[in-house]
Symmetry: C2
Subunit: 245 residues, 2 copies
DNA sequence: ATGCCTTATTGTCAAAATGACCACAAGTAC
DNA sequence: GTACTTGTGGTCATTTTGACAATAAGGCAT
């Protein structure tokens, strides 16, 4: 992560040419770590920069915060501008601020993360990007700055969170089978779970509402579909229940 | 948390008069949330500002980050400058950046936290403070800016962490009794635990080394002293063990 | 239709963990 | 000594877990 320091101010901006927009805080940026799930593989949303000296390189969708903008609002705005993904619940992950993480200037970045059901969103390439794409966490391209470190931290955080909060459901479609849920946990935790035991444990929590529908288009017995019952979760949480997988 | 906005720049600094030191990043600060334990009560370390328009008010020990300083280094430096507490393991808590959290200018603050055994440190009043003191979390004074929000978040985080990582031991002296440990959990989680069951659970983890010593100076049967065995914890963690209370 | 293959779903059973409590031990205070 | 306080070692019924067997349901090839 060695970095050349230049004194020519015009070269220090994230997007050379545009530079830091005038209404933005110069030393503070946002980066979004968006997780998806694709055929049982955990994926991450990346953009390819179109401008500046990082042109052509892959990065987390991020940018600068405006003077009069809350951190989370900035995260949402940037994500939508760059990828078209909106109305997402972004949660703060952590702030990364190594002195040399960004070339030339001191820029500290606040990382946000979210989990989305990839099929819910249509990706666009924002004006300052050459493209937007999902990558399996196992086949990530080379990334700019310390974005690999952000991702590494994010995956660890996700592994922890997914065991203690029912956030995994955000990665699945509205209606899902128990096996899909199990495979999600297996993909994130990188482990194998016993199917009957997993069923038993999840169902006993009373957090799933049966849809009274079955899977279609599979070449074997169709599984029952469930949906996450967030009201039940609220109720149980207030009653002292704590979600643990 | 309403805040008056002024346009006179000289009044916008955290420490009026000194202002933001020239070698520091103007829009970024650090605040430290230091937890202690005093007679079974969770406590927090606060300082009383000596300068600026917050003179005389209580606050978390914090300040500005230098251009060439990592976040965590800044947290340690500020903590030592203000309170004399050093060589502490500070962990990042979260970044707070509401537009109006700081009067006049946009200042985002990165909060760090740590747990200390209060008896290990001698407090001093730093040069820009009128005093340093521990406060019970149940009797906090009025605090500046959004420091109450930081504390609230920090306590929630602590309650969660203490159940999933053996960090509570940092709040105790080197050698402690099982009851002290239990009272720590009771204080943080604000709950009551069954003594024999708590013993059983903790001891079965094999994370405590008996000191083969007893408590002294108590008016009843003396309890055995234990110390936390961090090597055993490493070993167990690598073997897939996960600490849960 | 029949048998085959795949996945879904239910059930069993021993081992381990939990929660509620009891009883005795080991000290101090008097 | 007795009274009192906290430590420490138990019991016991209930719940949870982990491993795995057995059966159900559906599509597919023949």
């Amino acid at each position: 992560m060695a970095v050349k320091k230049k004194t020519d101010e015009s070269k220090h901006h994230r997007f050379q040419g545009t530079g830091v927009p005038p209404e933005c805080v110069r030393s503070l940026s946002i980066d979004n770590l968006i997780f998806g799930l694709d055929h049982g593989e955990l994926t991450i949303l990346l953009i390819k920069h179109a401008e500046g000296n990082t042109r052509g390189e892959w990065a987390l969708p991020g940018g600068y915060i405006r003077e009069k903008e809350n951190l989370q609002d900035a995260a949402s705005r940037l994500l939508e501008e760059l990828t078209g993904v909106k109305d997402l619940y972004l949660e703060q992950l952590r702030t990364f601020g190594k002195v040399d993480r960004f070339p030339g200037e001191r820029v500290v970045t606040v990382a946000y993360y979210a989990l989305v059901s990839a099929d819910k969103y249509r990706l666009i390439a924002g004006s300052s990007t050459l493209g937007t794409s999902w990558f399996s966490v196992n086949e990530l391209p080379e990334l700019i700055y310390d974005h690999d470190e952000i991702i590494e931290h994010g995956i660890k955080h996700l592994q922890h969170q997914v065991c203690h909060q029912p956030i995994g459901f955000n990665l699945l479609p509205e209606k899902f089978t128990l096996l899909q849920l199990q495979e999600l946990y297996e993909a994130i935790l990188n482990t194998h779970l016993d199917k009957p035991n997993f069923r038993r444990k999840i169902l006993k929590m009373n957090l799933l509402k049966p849809c009274n529908e079955k899977q279609t288009g599979v070449a074997h017995r169709a599984a029952a579909l469930y949906r996450f019952d967030s009201e039940a979760y609220e109720r149980l949480t207030n009653a002292g229940f704590s979600f643990v997988v």
